[in-house]
Symmetry: C2
Subunit: 219 residues, 2 copies
DNA sequence: ATTTAATTCAAACGACTGTTTGAAACAGGC
DNA sequence: GCCTGTTTCAAACAGTCGTTTGAATTAAAT
Protein backbone atom coordinates (compact mmCIF):
# COMPACT_ATOMS: atom_id res chain seq x y z
CA UNK A 1 0.00 0.00 0.00
CA UNK A 2 2.63 2.39 -1.07
CA UNK A 3 0.70 5.07 -2.87
CA UNK A 4 -2.58 4.67 -1.09
CA UNK A 5 -2.33 8.32 -0.22
CA UNK A 6 -4.08 8.88 -3.54
CA UNK A 7 -7.27 7.78 -1.88
CA UNK A 8 -6.68 10.08 1.06
CA UNK A 9 -5.79 12.98 -1.16
CA UNK A 10 -9.04 12.57 -3.04
CA UNK A 11 -10.99 12.41 0.21
CA UNK A 12 -9.32 15.47 1.71
CA UNK A 13 -9.57 17.56 -1.41
CA UNK A 14 -13.16 16.56 -2.06
CA UNK A 15 -14.09 17.41 1.50
CA UNK A 16 -12.56 20.85 1.21
CA UNK A 17 -14.25 21.64 -2.08
CA UNK A 18 -17.60 20.12 -1.16
CA UNK A 19 -17.68 22.19 1.98
CA UNK A 20 -16.97 25.35 0.07
CA UNK A 21 -19.33 24.95 -2.87
CA UNK A 22 -21.67 22.05 -2.30
CA UNK A 23 -21.74 18.49 -3.57
CA UNK A 24 -23.39 18.98 -6.91
CA UNK A 25 -21.56 22.19 -7.68
CA UNK A 26 -18.14 20.56 -7.53
CA UNK A 27 -17.27 18.32 -10.45
CA UNK A 28 -14.95 15.36 -10.33
CA UNK A 29 -12.59 17.15 -12.67
CA UNK A 30 -12.29 20.05 -10.27
CA UNK A 31 -11.42 17.64 -7.49
CA UNK A 32 -8.84 15.63 -9.38
CA UNK A 33 -7.19 18.79 -10.65
CA UNK A 34 -6.78 20.13 -7.12
CA UNK A 35 -5.70 16.76 -5.76
CA UNK A 36 -3.35 16.20 -8.69
CA UNK A 37 -4.56 12.67 -9.37
CA UNK A 38 -6.04 11.01 -12.41
CA UNK A 39 -9.73 11.21 -13.15
CA UNK A 40 -10.22 7.47 -13.23
CA UNK A 41 -8.70 7.16 -9.77
CA UNK A 42 -11.97 8.36 -8.28
CA UNK A 43 -13.91 5.50 -9.82
CA UNK A 44 -11.16 3.05 -9.10
CA UNK A 45 -11.10 3.83 -5.39
CA UNK A 46 -14.71 4.76 -4.78
CA UNK A 47 -16.80 3.53 -7.69
CA UNK A 48 -18.83 6.63 -8.38
CA UNK A 49 -19.19 10.25 -7.41
CA UNK A 50 -22.10 9.46 -5.15
CA UNK A 51 -20.00 6.86 -3.34
CA UNK A 52 -17.25 9.46 -2.92
CA UNK A 53 -19.73 11.87 -1.39
CA UNK A 54 -20.89 9.20 1.01
CA UNK A 55 -17.32 8.33 1.92
CA UNK A 56 -16.47 11.97 2.60
CA UNK A 57 -19.45 12.35 4.89
CA UNK A 58 -19.19 9.03 6.66
CA UNK A 59 -15.51 9.47 7.49
CA UNK A 60 -16.32 12.42 9.72
CA UNK A 61 -19.88 11.82 10.73
CA UNK A 62 -19.57 8.25 11.92
CA UNK A 63 -17.12 9.01 14.77
CA UNK A 64 -19.30 11.92 15.78
CA UNK A 65 -22.41 9.80 16.00
CA UNK A 66 -20.54 7.10 17.86
CA UNK A 67 -19.36 9.65 20.37
CA UNK A 68 -22.86 11.00 20.72
CA UNK A 69 -24.26 7.61 21.55
CA UNK A 70 -21.36 6.82 23.88
CA UNK A 71 -21.84 10.07 25.76
CA UNK A 72 -25.55 9.39 26.00
CA UNK A 73 -24.96 5.89 27.37
CA UNK A 74 -22.46 7.26 29.86
CA UNK A 75 -24.85 9.94 31.03
CA UNK A 76 -27.57 7.36 31.40
CA UNK A 77 -25.34 5.13 33.45
CA UNK A 78 -24.37 7.98 35.71
CA UNK A 79 -27.94 9.09 36.20
CA UNK A 80 -29.03 5.64 37.21
CA UNK A 81 -32.75 5.62 37.76
CA UNK A 82 -33.17 9.38 37.74
CA UNK A 83 -34.32 10.99 34.49
CA UNK A 84 -31.67 12.72 32.44
CA UNK A 85 -31.51 16.45 32.58
CA UNK A 86 -32.42 18.11 29.31
CA UNK A 87 -29.30 20.24 29.14
CA UNK A 88 -27.17 17.16 29.62
CA UNK A 89 -28.96 15.48 26.76
CA UNK A 90 -28.47 18.40 24.42
CA UNK A 91 -24.82 18.55 25.36
CA UNK A 92 -24.37 14.94 24.30
CA UNK A 93 -25.94 15.79 20.97
CA UNK A 94 -24.25 19.12 20.21
CA UNK A 95 -20.78 18.86 21.64
CA UNK A 96 -19.36 16.05 19.51
CA UNK A 97 -20.69 17.80 16.45
CA UNK A 98 -19.40 21.28 17.16
CA UNK A 99 -16.14 20.14 18.60
CA UNK A 100 -14.79 19.46 15.12
CA UNK A 101 -14.71 23.21 14.60
CA UNK A 102 -11.98 23.44 17.17
CA UNK A 103 -9.87 20.76 15.55
CA UNK A 104 -7.22 22.65 13.59
CA UNK A 105 -6.75 19.70 11.27
CA UNK A 106 -10.31 19.55 10.04
CA UNK A 107 -10.99 23.13 10.96
CA UNK A 108 -14.21 24.87 10.11
CA UNK A 109 -14.06 23.19 6.74
CA UNK A 110 -15.93 20.18 7.89
CA UNK A 111 -18.42 22.04 10.02
CA UNK A 112 -19.92 23.57 6.94
CA UNK A 113 -19.84 20.24 5.22
CA UNK A 114 -22.07 18.58 7.77
CA UNK A 115 -24.35 21.57 7.95
CA UNK A 116 -24.55 21.45 4.19
CA UNK A 117 -25.74 17.90 4.16
CA UNK A 118 -28.90 18.69 6.03
CA UNK A 119 -29.94 21.25 3.50
CA UNK A 120 -29.18 19.07 0.55
CA UNK A 121 -32.01 18.18 -1.80
CA UNK A 122 -30.50 15.08 -3.33
CA UNK A 123 -32.83 12.17 -2.74
CA UNK A 124 -30.16 9.51 -2.46
CA UNK A 125 -28.07 11.63 -0.14
CA UNK A 126 -31.05 12.16 2.11
CA UNK A 127 -31.65 8.44 2.38
CA UNK A 128 -27.98 7.90 3.14
CA UNK A 129 -28.02 10.51 5.87
CA UNK A 130 -31.13 9.07 7.44
CA UNK A 131 -29.40 5.74 7.56
CA UNK A 132 -26.33 7.24 9.20
CA UNK A 133 -28.43 9.13 11.71
CA UNK A 134 -31.03 6.47 12.41
CA UNK A 135 -29.58 5.32 15.71
CA UNK A 136 -29.00 8.84 16.94
CA UNK A 137 -32.52 9.92 16.02
CA UNK A 138 -34.11 6.95 17.74
CA UNK A 139 -32.04 7.05 20.90
CA UNK A 140 -32.14 10.78 21.43
CA UNK A 141 -35.76 11.07 20.36
CA UNK A 142 -36.76 8.65 23.07
CA UNK A 143 -34.51 10.38 25.57
CA UNK A 144 -36.07 13.75 24.83
CA UNK A 145 -39.54 12.43 25.36
CA UNK A 146 -38.49 10.87 28.64
CA UNK A 147 -36.89 14.12 29.76
CA UNK A 148 -40.03 16.09 28.94
CA UNK A 149 -42.84 14.27 30.71
CA UNK A 150 -45.17 17.23 30.40
CA UNK A 151 -45.21 17.21 26.62
CA UNK A 152 -47.23 15.11 24.26
CA UNK A 153 -45.25 13.04 21.80
CA UNK A 154 -46.46 15.21 18.96
CA UNK A 155 -45.32 18.41 20.63
CA UNK A 156 -41.98 16.86 21.54
CA UNK A 157 -41.45 15.81 17.93
CA UNK A 158 -42.14 19.30 16.66
CA UNK A 159 -39.71 20.79 19.11
CA UNK A 160 -37.05 18.26 18.22
CA UNK A 161 -37.61 19.42 14.68
CA UNK A 162 -37.09 23.05 15.62
CA UNK A 163 -33.99 22.14 17.55
CA UNK A 164 -32.55 20.25 14.60
CA UNK A 165 -33.18 23.28 12.42
CA UNK A 166 -31.38 25.62 14.79
CA UNK A 167 -28.50 23.18 15.06
CA UNK A 168 -28.10 22.64 11.33
CA UNK A 169 -28.44 26.29 10.46
CA UNK A 170 -25.87 27.23 13.06
CA UNK A 171 -23.38 24.71 11.82
CA UNK A 172 -23.93 25.55 8.19
CA UNK A 173 -23.77 29.31 8.44
CA UNK A 174 -21.41 29.64 11.35
CA UNK A 175 -19.08 31.91 9.47
CA UNK A 176 -21.97 34.00 8.29
CA UNK A 177 -22.97 35.00 11.77
CA UNK A 178 -19.43 35.54 12.84
CA UNK A 179 -18.88 38.01 10.04
CA UNK A 180 -22.23 39.60 10.66
CA UNK A 181 -21.71 40.30 14.32
CA UNK A 182 -18.00 40.82 14.06
CA UNK A 183 -17.38 38.19 16.68
CA UNK A 184 -14.08 36.47 16.40
CA UNK A 185 -14.38 32.92 15.16
CA UNK A 186 -11.92 31.68 17.70
CA UNK A 187 -11.50 27.99 17.18
CA UNK A 188 -11.95 27.19 20.83
CA UNK A 189 -15.10 29.26 20.94
CA UNK A 190 -17.13 26.26 19.95
CA UNK A 191 -17.90 25.84 23.63
CA UNK A 192 -19.61 29.19 23.68
CA UNK A 193 -21.63 28.19 20.62
CA UNK A 194 -22.70 24.95 22.25
CA UNK A 195 -23.60 26.78 25.42
CA UNK A 196 -25.72 29.30 23.55
CA UNK A 197 -27.43 26.62 21.54
CA UNK A 198 -28.23 24.63 24.67
CA UNK A 199 -29.61 27.70 26.42
CA UNK A 200 -31.85 28.47 23.50
CA UNK A 201 -33.13 24.99 22.68
CA UNK A 202 -33.54 23.82 26.25
CA UNK A 203 -35.77 26.80 26.95
CA UNK A 204 -37.63 26.10 23.74
CA UNK A 205 -38.24 22.50 24.76
CA UNK A 206 -39.53 23.58 28.15
CA UNK A 207 -41.78 26.33 26.83
CA UNK A 208 -45.37 26.40 27.98
CA UNK A 209 -47.72 25.19 25.27
CA UNK A 210 -50.05 27.96 24.22
CA UNK A 211 -53.55 26.56 23.81
CA UNK A 212 -55.13 27.01 20.36
CA UNK A 213 -56.84 30.33 19.86
CA UNK A 214 -60.32 30.24 21.23
CA UNK A 215 -63.45 30.37 19.19
CA UNK A 216 -62.74 32.31 16.13
CA UNK A 217 -63.44 35.94 15.92
CA UNK A 218 -64.56 37.38 12.68
CA UNK A 219 -62.26 37.29 9.78
CA UNK B 1 -50.76 40.83 -25.04
CA UNK B 2 -52.75 37.81 -25.92
CA UNK B 3 -50.32 34.97 -25.36
CA UNK B 4 -48.39 36.48 -22.52
CA UNK B 5 -49.54 33.49 -20.50
CA UNK B 6 -46.42 31.84 -21.84
CA UNK B 7 -44.49 33.83 -19.28
CA UNK B 8 -46.88 32.84 -16.50
CA UNK B 9 -46.82 29.21 -17.52
CA UNK B 10 -43.05 29.19 -17.32
CA UNK B 11 -43.16 30.86 -13.95
CA UNK B 12 -45.75 28.49 -12.52
CA UNK B 13 -44.17 25.35 -13.89
CA UNK B 14 -40.69 26.39 -12.80
CA UNK B 15 -41.94 27.12 -9.31
CA UNK B 16 -43.53 23.71 -9.03
CA UNK B 17 -40.46 21.87 -10.25
CA UNK B 18 -37.95 23.98 -8.34
CA UNK B 19 -39.85 23.36 -5.15
CA UNK B 20 -39.84 19.64 -5.74
CA UNK B 21 -36.23 19.11 -6.79
CA UNK B 22 -34.22 22.26 -6.22
CA UNK B 23 -32.99 24.99 -8.51
CA UNK B 24 -29.89 23.39 -9.90
CA UNK B 25 -31.42 19.96 -10.22
CA UNK B 26 -34.15 21.13 -12.59
CA UNK B 27 -33.00 21.92 -16.11
CA UNK B 28 -34.62 24.42 -18.43
CA UNK B 29 -35.55 21.59 -20.76
CA UNK B 30 -37.49 19.87 -18.00
CA UNK B 31 -39.38 23.07 -17.35
CA UNK B 32 -40.22 23.88 -20.94
CA UNK B 33 -41.35 20.31 -21.58
CA UNK B 34 -43.77 20.44 -18.65
CA UNK B 35 -44.95 23.93 -19.52
CA UNK B 36 -45.25 23.04 -23.21
CA UNK B 37 -43.40 26.10 -24.43
CA UNK B 38 -40.31 26.58 -26.54
CA UNK B 39 -36.87 26.46 -25.00
CA UNK B 40 -35.90 29.91 -26.25
CA UNK B 41 -38.99 31.42 -24.64
CA UNK B 42 -37.25 31.28 -21.28
CA UNK B 43 -34.42 33.47 -22.47
CA UNK B 44 -36.75 35.72 -24.40
CA UNK B 45 -38.88 36.46 -21.36
CA UNK B 46 -36.35 36.25 -18.57
CA UNK B 47 -32.89 36.46 -20.07
CA UNK B 48 -31.25 33.57 -18.27
CA UNK B 49 -31.96 30.70 -15.95
CA UNK B 50 -30.65 32.64 -12.99
CA UNK B 51 -33.02 35.49 -13.80
CA UNK B 52 -35.87 32.99 -13.96
CA UNK B 53 -34.98 31.65 -10.55
CA UNK B 54 -34.93 35.15 -9.15
CA UNK B 55 -38.28 35.93 -10.75
CA UNK B 56 -39.84 32.78 -9.30
CA UNK B 57 -38.64 33.64 -5.83
CA UNK B 58 -39.38 37.34 -5.92
CA UNK B 59 -42.95 36.85 -7.13
CA UNK B 60 -43.85 35.10 -3.90
CA UNK B 61 -41.35 36.43 -1.43
CA UNK B 62 -41.82 40.12 -2.08
CA UNK B 63 -45.48 40.25 -1.00
CA UNK B 64 -44.61 38.20 2.06
CA UNK B 65 -41.87 40.58 3.11
CA UNK B 66 -44.09 43.56 2.46
CA UNK B 67 -46.76 42.04 4.66
CA UNK B 68 -44.20 41.33 7.36
CA UNK B 69 -43.06 44.94 7.43
CA UNK B 70 -46.64 46.21 7.28
CA UNK B 71 -47.66 44.01 10.19
CA UNK B 72 -44.63 45.15 12.14
CA UNK B 73 -45.42 48.80 11.48
CA UNK B 74 -49.01 48.22 12.50
CA UNK B 75 -48.00 46.49 15.70
CA UNK B 76 -45.62 49.31 16.47
CA UNK B 77 -48.32 51.89 15.93
CA UNK B 78 -50.70 50.03 18.18
CA UNK B 79 -48.13 49.62 20.92
CA UNK B 80 -47.33 53.30 20.93
CA UNK B 81 -44.52 53.94 23.33
CA UNK B 82 -44.65 50.57 24.99
CA UNK B 83 -42.15 47.94 23.85
CA UNK B 84 -43.47 45.27 21.54
CA UNK B 85 -44.16 41.88 23.00
CA UNK B 86 -41.84 39.21 21.71
CA UNK B 87 -44.61 36.85 20.68
CA UNK B 88 -46.24 39.60 18.69
CA UNK B 89 -42.99 40.23 16.90
CA UNK B 90 -42.50 36.61 16.01
CA UNK B 91 -46.05 36.40 14.77
CA UNK B 92 -45.40 39.26 12.36
CA UNK B 93 -42.39 37.38 11.06
CA UNK B 94 -43.80 33.85 10.84
CA UNK B 95 -47.43 34.24 9.91
CA UNK B 96 -47.08 35.84 6.47
CA UNK B 97 -44.55 33.20 5.59
CA UNK B 98 -46.44 30.14 6.75
CA UNK B 99 -49.80 31.40 5.60
CA UNK B 100 -48.95 30.52 2.02
CA UNK B 101 -49.21 26.88 3.02
CA UNK B 102 -52.91 27.38 3.54
CA UNK B 103 -53.46 28.99 0.16
CA UNK B 104 -54.86 26.20 -2.02
CA UNK B 105 -53.62 27.97 -5.13
CA UNK B 106 -49.97 28.04 -4.20
CA UNK B 107 -50.35 25.21 -1.74
CA UNK B 108 -47.46 23.65 0.06
CA UNK B 109 -45.54 23.86 -3.20
CA UNK B 110 -44.21 27.27 -2.49
CA UNK B 111 -43.54 26.70 1.18
CA UNK B 112 -40.83 24.25 0.30
CA UNK B 113 -39.52 26.61 -2.32
CA UNK B 114 -38.84 29.36 0.17
CA UNK B 115 -37.44 26.95 2.69
CA UNK B 116 -35.22 25.59 -0.04
CA UNK B 117 -33.75 28.97 -0.79
CA UNK B 118 -32.22 29.35 2.62
CA UNK B 119 -30.33 26.12 2.30
CA UNK B 120 -29.09 26.89 -1.16
CA UNK B 121 -25.35 27.17 -1.65
CA UNK B 122 -25.36 29.16 -4.86
CA UNK B 123 -23.38 32.32 -4.32
CA UNK B 124 -25.43 34.54 -6.59
CA UNK B 125 -28.68 33.27 -5.16
CA UNK B 126 -27.48 34.00 -1.66
CA UNK B 127 -26.64 37.58 -2.58
CA UNK B 128 -30.03 37.96 -4.21
CA UNK B 129 -31.81 36.64 -1.15
CA UNK B 130 -29.90 38.91 1.17
CA UNK B 131 -30.98 41.82 -0.96
CA UNK B 132 -34.61 40.73 -0.83
CA UNK B 133 -34.47 40.21 2.91
CA UNK B 134 -32.34 43.20 3.84
CA UNK B 135 -35.19 45.37 5.07
CA UNK B 136 -36.79 42.55 7.02
CA UNK B 137 -33.52 41.60 8.68
CA UNK B 138 -32.75 45.17 9.70
CA UNK B 139 -36.19 46.05 10.95
CA UNK B 140 -36.85 42.86 12.84
CA UNK B 141 -33.32 42.61 14.12
CA UNK B 142 -33.65 45.97 15.77
CA UNK B 143 -37.10 45.09 17.07
CA UNK B 144 -35.83 41.90 18.66
CA UNK B 145 -33.07 43.72 20.44
CA UNK B 146 -35.53 46.28 21.71
CA UNK B 147 -37.88 43.57 22.93
CA UNK B 148 -35.08 41.82 24.81
CA UNK B 149 -33.50 44.51 26.97
CA UNK B 150 -31.79 41.95 29.16
CA UNK B 151 -29.67 40.51 26.34
CA UNK B 152 -26.45 41.78 24.89
CA UNK B 153 -26.51 42.49 21.17
CA UNK B 154 -24.24 39.56 20.56
CA UNK B 155 -26.46 37.14 22.39
CA UNK B 156 -29.55 38.52 20.66
CA UNK B 157 -27.90 38.03 17.27
CA UNK B 158 -27.08 34.43 18.04
CA UNK B 159 -30.60 33.72 19.11
CA UNK B 160 -32.01 35.39 16.04
CA UNK B 161 -29.77 33.04 14.14
CA UNK B 162 -31.13 30.00 15.96
CA UNK B 163 -34.65 31.21 15.34
CA UNK B 164 -34.00 31.63 11.62
CA UNK B 165 -32.68 28.09 11.52
CA UNK B 166 -35.74 26.65 13.18
CA UNK B 167 -37.98 28.64 10.89
CA UNK B 168 -36.21 27.67 7.68
CA UNK B 169 -35.90 24.02 8.61
CA UNK B 170 -39.56 23.85 9.52
CA UNK B 171 -40.66 25.39 6.26
CA UNK B 172 -38.32 23.29 4.20
CA UNK B 173 -39.07 19.92 5.71
CA UNK B 174 -42.65 20.49 6.71
CA UNK B 175 -43.83 17.40 4.91
CA UNK B 176 -41.07 15.35 6.45
CA UNK B 177 -42.26 15.93 9.97
CA UNK B 178 -45.86 15.48 9.03
CA UNK B 179 -45.12 12.08 7.63
CA UNK B 180 -42.90 11.25 10.55
CA UNK B 181 -45.44 11.99 13.25
CA UNK B 182 -48.43 11.02 11.18
CA UNK B 183 -50.00 14.38 11.77
CA UNK B 184 -52.38 15.46 9.08
CA UNK B 185 -50.98 18.26 6.96
CA UNK B 186 -54.28 20.01 6.98
CA UNK B 187 -53.92 23.19 4.99
CA UNK B 188 -55.38 25.31 7.74
CA UNK B 189 -52.99 23.76 10.24
CA UNK B 190 -50.42 26.38 9.47
CA UNK B 191 -51.74 28.26 12.47
CA UNK B 192 -50.78 25.40 14.73
CA UNK B 193 -47.31 25.36 13.21
CA UNK B 194 -46.90 29.09 13.74
CA UNK B 195 -48.12 28.73 17.31
CA UNK B 196 -45.64 25.95 18.03
CA UNK B 197 -42.79 27.84 16.45
CA UNK B 198 -43.60 30.96 18.45
CA UNK B 199 -43.79 28.98 21.68
CA UNK B 200 -40.41 27.44 21.03
CA UNK B 201 -38.49 30.44 19.78
CA UNK B 202 -39.96 32.94 22.24
CA UNK B 203 -38.86 30.75 25.11
CA UNK B 204 -35.48 30.39 23.47
CA UNK B 205 -35.09 34.14 23.17
CA UNK B 206 -35.99 34.62 26.81
CA UNK B 207 -33.75 31.86 28.13
CA UNK B 208 -31.44 32.68 30.96
CA UNK B 209 -27.86 33.01 29.78
CA UNK B 210 -25.72 30.32 31.35
CA UNK B 211 -22.38 31.77 32.40
CA UNK B 212 -19.26 29.97 31.16
CA UNK B 213 -18.42 26.96 33.30
CA UNK B 214 -15.03 28.18 34.41
CA UNK B 215 -14.98 31.44 36.30
CA UNK B 216 -13.65 33.10 33.21
CA UNK B 217 -14.12 36.79 32.70
CA UNK B 218 -15.83 37.81 29.52
CA UNK B 219 -14.01 39.87 27.00
C1' DA C 1 -53.26 45.92 -47.00
C1' DT C 2 -48.81 47.03 -45.75
C1' DT C 3 -45.53 47.91 -42.40
C1' DT C 4 -43.69 47.31 -37.85
C1' DA C 5 -42.98 45.15 -33.73
C1' DA C 6 -43.50 41.28 -30.57
C1' DT C 7 -43.37 36.51 -29.97
C1' DT C 8 -42.54 31.55 -31.12
C1' DC C 9 -40.01 27.90 -33.15
C1' DA C 10 -36.50 24.17 -34.62
C1' DA C 11 -31.83 23.60 -34.72
C1' DA C 12 -27.43 24.02 -33.44
C1' DC C 13 -23.42 25.79 -30.46
C1' DG C 14 -19.67 24.98 -27.24
C1' DA C 15 -18.76 23.59 -22.84
C1' DC C 16 -19.27 20.61 -19.24
C1' DT C 17 -20.86 16.28 -16.81
C1' DG C 18 -20.03 11.28 -14.73
C1' DT C 19 -18.37 7.12 -16.45
C1' DT C 20 -15.73 3.55 -19.13
C1' DT C 21 -11.88 1.60 -21.57
C1' DG C 22 -7.54 -0.56 -22.42
C1' DA C 23 -3.04 0.01 -22.22
C1' DA C 24 0.81 1.46 -19.53
C1' DA C 25 3.56 1.76 -14.96
C1' DC C 26 4.42 -0.13 -10.71
C1' DA C 27 4.63 -3.27 -6.71
C1' DG C 28 6.24 -7.45 -4.27
C1' DG C 29 6.79 -12.79 -4.38
C1' DC C 30 9.16 -16.28 -6.48
C1' DG D 1 15.13 -12.38 -14.37
C1' DC D 2 9.79 -13.40 -14.88
C1' DC D 3 5.11 -13.22 -13.28
C1' DT D 4 0.81 -11.46 -10.87
C1' DG D 5 -2.00 -8.36 -9.11
C1' DT D 6 -2.63 -3.48 -7.96
C1' DT D 7 -2.63 1.17 -9.25
C1' DT D 8 -2.19 5.08 -12.61
C1' DC D 9 -2.87 7.24 -16.95
C1' DA D 10 -4.60 9.55 -21.43
C1' DA D 11 -8.35 9.27 -24.29
C1' DA D 12 -12.78 8.77 -25.55
C1' DC D 13 -17.91 7.90 -24.67
C1' DA D 14 -22.60 9.32 -24.42
C1' DG D 15 -25.25 12.68 -22.43
C1' DT D 16 -26.93 17.06 -20.55
C1' DC D 17 -26.46 21.71 -19.68
C1' DG D 18 -27.49 26.97 -20.57
C1' DT D 19 -27.38 29.86 -24.35
C1' DT D 20 -27.66 31.69 -29.19
C1' DT D 21 -29.23 32.12 -33.82
C1' DG D 22 -32.09 33.31 -37.67
C1' DA D 23 -36.06 32.38 -39.78
C1' DA D 24 -41.22 31.69 -39.24
C1' DT D 25 -45.31 33.13 -37.10
C1' DT D 26 -48.49 36.17 -34.92
C1' DA D 27 -50.34 40.64 -33.28
C1' DA D 28 -50.82 45.57 -33.56
C1' DA D 29 -50.39 50.00 -35.89
C1' DT D 30 -50.54 52.78 -39.84
Amino acid sequence: MAKTDTKSRILDTAERLFARKGFDAVSLRTIIAAAKVNLAAVHYHFGSKQALVHAVIARRLRPINEERLAKLAEARAKAGRRPLKLERLLDCLFRPLFRVQADPKTGPTFARLVGRVMGERNEGLHKFMMGELADVIIQFGAAFEAALPGLTKEEADWRSHFMAGAMAHTLCNADLLVRFTGTDADASDYEATVRRLIDFTAAGFRAKVTPPTRPRKKK
